[in-house]
Every structure is written in C-alpha cells, then in structure tokens.
C-alpha cells in the first residue's frame, strides 16, 4: 500500500533575553547549578511573576517575520502538572489567546520547489529546569537555572509530507530566529528543540491518521532519523493490520530506537485556567511598529540580495544567507576580498570543513571574515598558490599570526610570477630531463601529455623553492615543449 506522510512540528525556541520571562534572574548559559534560580524562579511562597518586555518584543518580531497576525490582547494560562523541575507545579503558558496568530513560512526544497508551511500560532511560555540523572545516593539532582527562561513555542499546521520537508522547514525557522537575533540557535545547548507529530494515511485519502508525537529532538540529523524511524514503525504496524496509538514517544538517536513515554498513572489532565497573577497583555500599534523597526534583513531577502549583489548562484546564495552569522562572515570576507565568488568558495570549503571538524560555530571561529577576505585578495592576485593559501589559513586558524601578508612573508609563500625568471628555471629543468622531454614530444594522446606535464612540475617547484607560480610554470612548459 502507498502511504502519505503527514508531519506537523512544535518547536520550542529559547529567547535570547537577558533575564527570565517572569523574574529578573539572568538566563546566561552554563552557570553553576541553581545560582540563577531566585525567589520567583524557585516558586517561594508569596512570590509573583512580572513579565519581561523583551520576551514580548521578540515574540512580536517573530510574528512579523513569519507573516503572522499579532495577538493584540494575549493572556497567560496555568498548565498544571507535578514534576521536580517545575517549581510552581504549573507551567505559565498561553493557550486561548497567544501572542502570535496564524502565519506562514516559505521553504526552498532541494528539487527547487518552494513549500509553504503554515504556522498555526506561536505562544510565550516558561522553560522548566533540568533533572540530572547522575546518581546522588539513588536520588536525582534538580537544577533550576533554566526554569523560567522564556520560550516561544511555534506550532505548525500538518503541512509537511517528508522528513526532507520537515528538516528544510526546521532549518529555515532556525535561520529566521537567528537572523532576528531573538535566539542564539545553539541546538546543542537546547536553544531550539523540536517535537514532531507524524501520521500516515492511505495515499490520496483526505482523512488524517492517528498521530504520534516524538519529543525533544535537538538536532536536524536526529530529527531526520527520528521521522524516518517513526514512519517506518507506523507503516509496519498499519501494513500488519494494526492501529496506531496516539502517544508521546522518545527517540534515542544514538541507538536509532524509540519508545513510548506513556505513564501508567493517568491520562494527563492539565487543568488549564487563566493565571490570576497576570493580567491581559495588550500590544498596541506603537509596540508593533517598534518591533518592526528592529527587524533585520531576513533570510529570504538576504538570499535575493546575495544573488544580485555578489552574483552568487541560487545554491551558494541559499547556503550563505541562511545563518545570520555565516552571512555576516561572508559579507565581511567579500568586502575585504573583492572577489565574492572566491570568498564564497573558501567559506563553503576550507572554512566550513574546519568548523565542522572542530565542532565550532561561526561565532567561535578563530579567524575573522576580514582575514579570510585578505587571504582571498592574495589568492586572486596570484601572490599565493592555493596550496600556499591553505598554509596561510592554517596559520590564521591556529593564531600563529593574524596578518595574512606577514604570514606569507614569514613562511616564504610568495609566488614568483616574474616570467623571465620562471622561463630560465624551466629551461634549466628541461635541459636536465632530455628523455622525459622527448617522451612527451612523441606522445599523441593529449590526456597522457597533460599527465606527463605534471612530471616536470615537481622539479620546477623544487628549483623555485616552492615559490614559483604553478599556473605560470604550466603555461611556459606548454609553450616550450611545443603544445
């Protein structure tokens, strides 16, 4: 049987505010346990919440960026459940009147089609703390530093039909929130977490199947794997004539396994009701216009500009415009390097490979866009060969020196491009290799001749102490050897 896959996402986006959503405690990542959990965050008796203005500002910026209606009057509800990382015994969240209403995001797919994914709504809420499962004499440890960190939960319509579409959407959302500067986008620290709702239906059917929710996926790769895994699991059940149970599942990316999170105690009954400690939040035109004025260039607009301004192709422009920090790095390199395409190649090649190898983000790169731009200038004007450029890159990366020209000088990487000097070297080398010259000249096959040409390069580079411009050597060789 043929199946249609139906996917909807819920994405928790941690907002990059300085303080928590309802208290003046810092949200900085990585502090000692419970040093950023204060009276309100700890739900000390009698303490009360006061909402953070920036949380609303960021949520409104998000709403504007996804073409959404802004909730002019939004409310907070209490979602009641007991868990040790939830100090109040309820999560303060929005249910009936969220801050962001329906909107949409257009996503570019690999097949060059554009997919529109509708946003159902996005609401503000507080994050929970963390349970640490290391063993403390058979007990768990609770760190409440994260408790009260502002989140927006973005809920999509079930508009995606493959893992690829879901991941492309997720990446696009990541690029929107990082471009807006409302989220640091660091998935390894849980700044963005994805819940995936998946169901299958017979191909062409209008009726949605029973869905499952796979929770807390914190990388695009795991998300892709988890979807593939869940689709296969559901397909197996349905094709065996079974039925899908609506449930929450937990995916283990390391083992490519999932299991149900159902607890035997009770079906959840969250007993939502309006939070009596908070009043309706009214967003007026001024607030919205202020948020709009803070919107930076968004990925779609940036991609178009990269194509136009730098002459990049669609693929390169898409890759470089998605992440705000990478885009900024590229623009700095392009501005310094004068040759935008060459800068783009280096960023997608050497630079990205190196970041990946060292698991670093663009922000953590030891080299700046300007430095890479300076290097691009020296590649373009033939001062260094590409092999030499890699050595310069290495020196910049390790911090050996921060000046491109100084590195070139110190390491003697400057290419000799004086044609007269190079010709003399070629003459000398060819004179010492008469057999090879004859062999070359007797060869008819141009492919083989080209290959044989390489045989002269080694001695030539040696003769020039590695400083001869290989491109020029090549040209002179071809000329001297008679084509």
């Amino acid at each position: 049987m043929q199946w249609d896959i139906v996917i909807g996402l819920e994405i928790h986006v941690q907002l990059a505010t300085r303080t928590k959503i309802f208290s003046g405690s810092s949200t900085a990542y990585g502090a000692e346990p419970n040093t950023q959990a204060n009276a309100v965050d700890l739900a000390m008796p009698g303490t009360l919440p006061v909402p953070n203005e920036n949380a609303f500002r960021y949520a409104v910026m998000f709403g504007l960026a996804v073409n959404a209606e802004i909730g002019r009057r939004s409310m907070f509800e209490r979602k009641n459940y007991f868990y040790p990382d939830l100090p109040k015994g309820y999560q303060t969240t929005q249910l009936e009147q969220p801050i962001v209403g329906p909107g949409y995001v257009d996503v570019d797919l690999a097949n060059r089609e554009t997919k529109r994914v509708r946003i159902h709504h996005a609401h503000l809420e507080e994050d929970a703390g963390k349970s640490l499962h290391e063993d403390y004499h058979g007990m768990s440890g609770i760190d409440l530093n994260r408790a009260g960190t502002p989140l927006i939960e973005v809920v999509t319509e079930p508009d995606m039909n493959s893992a690829e579409e879901a991941v492309a959407f997720a990446r696009k959302l990541h690029s929107i929130v990082t471009s807006l500067g409302i989220c640091d986008g660091d998935m390894s620290q849980g700044s963005m977490r994805f819940d995936v709702n998946i169901s299958l239906k017979p191909k062409g059917s209008d009726e949605l199947g029973t869905r499952t929710e796979t929770k807390n996926l914190n990388s695009f790769r795991f998300m892709e794997q988890a979807i593939a895994h869940e689709v296969e699991r559901q397909m197996d059940i349905l094709e065996d004539g079974g039925r899908i149970i609506q449930e929450t599942r937990l995916y283990n990316g390391d083992r490519d396994e999932s299991r149900s999170m159902r607890t035997k105690e009770e079906a959840n009954d969250y007993r939502y009701f309006p939070c009596p400690d908070l009043l309706p939040v009214v967003i007026d035109d001024d607030f919205i216009e202020d948020a709009r004025s803070r919107l930076p260039e968004l990925p779609d607009a940036r991609k178009a500009r990269f194509k136009e301004q730098y002459g990049l192709n669609d693929y390169d422009a898409g890759l470089l415009s998605g992440d705000a920090k990478l885009a900024a790095f590229f623009e700095e390199a392009a501005a310094h390097g004068k040759d935008a395409k060459l800068a783009a190649n280096w960023i997608q090649g050497e630079f990205s490979a190196r970041l990946k190898a060292e698991e670093k983000s663009v922000a953590e790169s030891p080299i700046t866009g300007a430095q890479l731009g300076d290097l691009v200038v020296r590649i373009a004007d033939n001062t260094v060969s590409s092999a030499g450029a890699k050595k310069v890159f290495e020196a910049l990366w390790t911090g050996e020196n921060d000046n491109v020209d100084a590195i070139i000088d110190a390491k003697g990487l400057k290419q000799v491009s004086d044609t007269g000097a190079l010709e003399a070297m070629v003459d000398e080398v060819l004179a010492g290799m008469p057999d090879q010259v004859a062999q070359y000249q007797n060869e008819e096959d141009p492919k083989k001749r080209k290959k044989m040409l390489g045989g002269f390069m080694g001695p030539l580079m040696k003769a020039s102490k590695g400083q001869g411009n290989p491109k020029l050597f090549n040209e002179i060789l071809v000329k001297k050897l008679g084509g």
Binding site: A39, L42, A43, M44, P45, G46, T47, L48, P49, V50, P51, R78, N80, F82, P84, P87, K88, G89, Y90, I142, L144, E265, D269, R271, Y272, F273, P276, D277, L278, L279
Partner: protein, 485 residues
C-alpha cells in the same frame, strides 16, 4: 499603655514619655503572660522586637520618626518575614524561614514599626473560625469570662483576638472571602479589606490570587487609616498591584457625613440574619442618619450566588497556588519517600490539614477535564454578574451597609464537622471579594454579650470614604472601646 491606640502610642513616643524599648518590653511581657488564654500568636519574636525598638528609638533621636516609629504591632503569619519563621498556619511550613520579606513587611519595617511576632490563622487562610490552624485553635477573648471558648472567626482570627485582647494595638490581616471582616466582627475590632490591587500581594502567601487582599485590623478606624497609609501603594513586584496615587487616609477622617447616601442591600437583611443581629445593625444605621446620612434600600440580585461562585473560583486558584508545596525546595517533606510519587502524595497528605486538602480536591475537580465550563467558566460569569450588581448599586448610593456576619462568635467545634455550614459564615462578605471592592467591619453593638459587626462597603478605591464613615461613627459610639472581661 495596652489600652492605647496606635495614634495615642505614637504621641506618647513623640512626647518622649516612654521609649520604644520600654513600650515594646511592656507589650511583650503582657503578650507572653496573656496569650496562653487565646493562642493568638504562632511566633513571638522578642529579641528581634527589642532590637527593632532600639533602632526605632535611634531613628526618633535622629529626627527621622514616622507615625509608626517604635509602635508595636503584629503580622498575620501569612506575610513572609525575612529571617522569621512564616508558617501560614500549616505543618507544611512549620519550619519555613523565608530569606525575603513581603512588600507589606518591608513597608512596616521602613516605617520603623516594631513587630512583636506572627499571629495565628486558619491554615493557608482557609477557614472562618481559626480552628484549621496546625498550631491550634484561637480563642475569642469575648465569652471567655462565662467559661465559653468561642471562635474568633477566621482566617485572621489570631490578629483579631490579639487586638481585642489588647496584646497589640494593631495587626495586619488578609481577606479572601471575609477573613478580615468576619473575625473583626466576631472579636469586636475594626478591620478593613482594601480594594483588590491596593496593597501588594508580594510575599503574602497566596490562597486565591484574584481574591486575596492584605488589609488592616485595629480597634479604631483612625488606626486602620494609619496602617493603610503604610501598606497601600504600587508595587512593581506584583502584576496585579494598581499604580494609583495613595491619599493620606487620616486626612479625611473628620469630614462630616452630611448627605452621605447609604444603601441597604435587601438580600443581606433576610431570615438568615437573627432578629437580634438585625436590630443592632439597624440601630447603627440610625446613628448614621443622625449624622446626616440618608438611607435607601438597594438590590444585589445575584448576591445569593456569591458563595457558590466563590467555592469554585477560590478552590480552583488554590489548587494551583498550593502545588508548589511539593517537598522539593522548602517546607515539609515526608520521611523516607520510596519514589517520586510517594514523596509528592505523602508530603502533601501529611503536610496539609483536612480543610486545605478538601479545597485543593474541589478545585482540582472543578478545573478537570469535562467540568471546566460547567464550574469554572460559569463561576467567572456569575462573578461578572455580581460585580455589575455592585456597579449598579453605586450609581445610586455612596456606601452599602450590612451585617458583617450572620451570627456572633460561635462555640469552638460547633461547625467543624460541616464545611458547608462553616462556609455560610461568609455569606455577607464573599461577594465583595469577587467584585474586588473595599469593605470594613466596624463594632456596632452586642448580642448576648458578644460583639456585632457592621459591614460598610465602598466603591473601588473608596477606602478614605469608608474610614471617614467608620471614624465618624466611632466619635458617637463606644462599641469599639469595649474591652472583653
């Protein structure tokens, strides 16, 4: 000294006839000696009080005294006091010493007032008789002479009994459904529940957030005004606190009442009220007529639904507010929990008393799936109807008057086995909390030797007018000066 009002004590201190340290020591001695009869205090903070008194004397010497500097008083044990145990009348918080102050306690501290300790209360402010306290019932000073142990009302029964017994001239209190006014009435003292949002709720342990309001209790209206001068005002730490100018509540106490329009809600003068009680209330209203007020009957047609709406909304909010008492970060935790579920369920079963658990369960039920619309939403709509009734009444009159409670103080144990009968104690007070209006209870006579309270209800932020009306009444009556034997 113990018979003097806050205003009088303030003058004594100002004149230099007595120091705060001397005054505080006198009150502490009397408190320690007398409170065995009433159990009106949970914690007495002798050392701290004497240290604060010393500081107050220094403030006064430095010319930095306020009306409150050096004056002894007490806090209901629902207000968090930095470094002083705050129990909320519960085993759950038996050993809870908050490292922070409620805004109300901070304000009294800044005014230089000397807190003698924390007064007893119904557990988590849930009760109308002060019998649900983990620290034992409070006994009303009235009726003791005839050998009867009567309730002081609740939940602020400790504050009311302590003021009535002259252990302190004033005490803070809170009112969610009548918890200031009903005990004030039953103990023959004067109490004020301000407009919702007038006094910060920060650090005041929550029962039902949309109904709770901190307020005042003392023997005279003037002292209530002095207290409110300290307590009222905007607090950025409380989202429901109102940013609105605070008048000097003592400045208008002597305004004449000529032309004051009084409304008597006919729904509050029914057969639920004994003829003897009604007579006292009607006599009090006659005093107002003598002072130049006019009286007319008004109607609050939905007032009869107030108890029903309240017993959905208050328990629902409480069920969530009390979820934080889970044994994880502070307060009671059961012995040797075998797993997480066991820790939660035993901690809460052992840490909370019967009435608190009852209300948490009712609230949980009212919010649970399938009942939300029928109970919670319906109650919120009825709440709107009740508010509209008051709004209509205030188009015609300046204040409303009624009895505070349906009967005077009853014998301890009389109603503990029947929660619903106990709930009906608040039949005249509860609608005011639903609407968020200010109201007072003023001593207005006696029935069988027990005090009767007159409730005066005002429009939003009309505290000054209520205090003025109460003060003028106290200039021509002496009910508030009567002392229990």
């Amino acid at each position: 000294m113990h018979n003097k009002s806050v205003a009088e004590l303030s003058r004594e201190l100002e004149s230099g006839k007595i120091s705060s340290v001397e005054l505080t020591q006198q009150f502490l001695d009397r408190l320690k000696q007398e409170d065995g009869k009433y159990n009106s205090f949970i914690t007495i903070t002798e050392e701290r009080a004497l240290a604060d008194a010393k500081t107050a004397d220094e403030m006064r010497a430095a010319g930095k005294a306020t009306a409150w500097t050096g004056v002894p008083f007490a806090h209901k044990d629902i207000f968090c006091t930095n470094g002083v145990r705050t129990t909320c009348g519960s085993k759950m918080l038996e050993n809870f010493v908050p490292p922070y102050d409620a805004t109300v306690t901070e304000r009294f501290r800044q005014a230089g007032a000397v807190c003698l300790g924390k007064t007893n209360m119904d557990e988590f402010a849930m009760g109308s008789s002060n019998e649900s306290s983990h620290f034992g019932a409070v006994t009303n000073p009235w009726g003791l002479a005839s050998g009867e142990k009567r309730v002081p009302g609740g939940s602020s029964g400790g504050s009311a009994a302590a003021v009535a017994a002259r252990l302190v001239p004033a005490a803070t209190a809170t009112d969610t459904g009548g918890s200031i006014r009903q005990p004030a009435a039953l103990c023959g003292v004067t109490g004020l529940k301000p407009t919702y949002g007038r006094v910060s709720r920060y650090g005041m342990i929550a029962f039902a957030s949309s109904l709770d309001q901190g307020g005042t209790m003392a023997r005279t209206a003037e002292d209530n005004a002095l207290m409110l001068n300290v307590m009222a005002g905007f607090d950025p730490k409380d989202s429901t606190s109102i940013d609105r100018e605070v008048p000097d509540y003592t400045a208008t106490l002597n305004e004449p009442l000529k032309g004051l329009k009084i409304g008597l809600p006919k729904e509050y003068f029914t057969d639920q009220l004994s003829p003897a009680m009604e007579e006292q209330v009607r006599n009090a209203v006659k005093e107002y007529e003598k002072l130049g007020a006019t009286v007319k009957e008004v109607s609050l047609p939905n007032a009869k639904l107030a108890i029903a709406a309240y017993y959905v909304i208050a328990p629902a909010e409480a069920s969530a507010n009390l979820s934080r008492f889970d044994g994880v970060r502070y307060g009671y935790r059961c012995e040797d929990p075998k797993d997480l579920m066991d820790m939660y369920t035993r901690t809460r079963a052992e840490g909370f008393g019967t009435e608190v658990k009852r209300r948490i369960l009712v609230g949980t039920y009212a919010l649970s799936h399938g009942y939300y619309d029928a109970y919670y939403l319906k109650a919120q709509k009825v709440r709107r109807l009740i508010q509209q009734d008051f709004a209509n009444a205030f188009k015609e009159v300046d204040v409303l008057m009624s009895p505070t409670s349906p009967s005077p103080a009853f014998i301890q144990g009389e109603k503990t086995n029947d929660p619903v009968t106990m709930y009906l104690e608040d039949i005249f007070t509860i609608a005011i909390n639903l609407a968020g209006l200010p109201a007072m209870s003023v001593p207005a006579g006696f029935v069988d030797g027990l005090p009767v309270g007159l409730q005066i209800i005002g429009d939003y932020f009309a505290e000054a007018r209520l205090l003025n009306a109460a003060h003028q009444f106290q200039q021509v009556t002496d009910w508030h000066q009567r002392e229990p034997k």
